[in-house]
Amino acid sequence: MTTGFPTPLYSHAGRGDFRDVYEPAEDSFLLIDALEKDAERLQLISPCVCLEVGSGSGVVSAFLASVIGPSALYLCTDVNPAAAQCTAKTASCNNVSLQPVLTSLVDSLLPRLGGKVDVLLFNPPYVVTPSEEVIQLSTAFYLLLMRIVKDIVPFFQVGSRGIEAAWAGGKRGREVTDRFLPLVAQLLSSEGLFYLITIAENDPEEIIHSLCKHGLKGESCLSTRAGNERLSVLRFHRS
């Protein structure tokens, strides 16, 4: 195995100003492990532009930066303002340079990043939760409980911008991933690599098949079991 790159410091995530930021968990570490496993391959590409969508605490990009070094631009997006600030803090704690942008997916970074991203990372909100349509139907049926439901419902809603944006994935846990997949082929450079975290419920085979139609070849490069979840890292490149 490789001589191991240290895990970045991230203890500030999940507390104080950053209490609404997704604390690195098994999914984050699995993605880190996948990048560590691919360290040589990543270094060989000699990436220039790296982009992490939904950077959360920033720990994964900070790790990538420690593997690849300072000769690359590390852009990080997130919809959660606390996460964007946390990413900046994680960068400074770990002596790497990360550039956070507060935005949804990669809004405003296209067209400029078209064909330029050498390493693309996404640990999406993958948990299966009620989709927006289901929530609307439920509130229509349960009028008496509407006040209570309205309090609870945002917590499960896809499309929010707080901590639940980190994990609520809607139907099949795929609603956010599916909005992003069509953009991957636009973003990736000719030698670029895209890493995506999935759980079994997201139907990773279908994701691989779907991106194949966009000219991207994919496979599961690492997986693990965490509690009830069968987590996998899918890796894609241009075929």
Partner: protein, 123 residues
Amino acid sequence: MKLLTHNMLTSHVKGVTKGYPLLIKATEVKMNEVEFNPQFVSRMIPKLEWSALIQAAEELGHRQDLPGELVPDYEKDEEFLKMVHRVLLEVEVIEGFLQCPESGREFPITRGIPNMLLNEEEA
């Protein structure tokens, strides 16, 4: 927000076709010392919209001697690379906003981070 990041951002307000480059209205700008890495600068230059970088540097009063057009053989010109390094990485907009050149919509920059989020109606 570094000018390198700014160079990659386009206004995505619905209906806007000329959303690049975003205008910069800065209320707080900081200079940070960043280790000079000529390889990084050399590799980023082809990915930049040069005129947008010049315009941004000018808006912030940091253009100095940067030429309006790229010099040939810049890879070997260390003085030139150092100038580019400074403008790309060492000038940071901490507070202010980016403005869509077509719609005028303002995107705030807070603690160095640009907020490109749109409301539902604008997306």
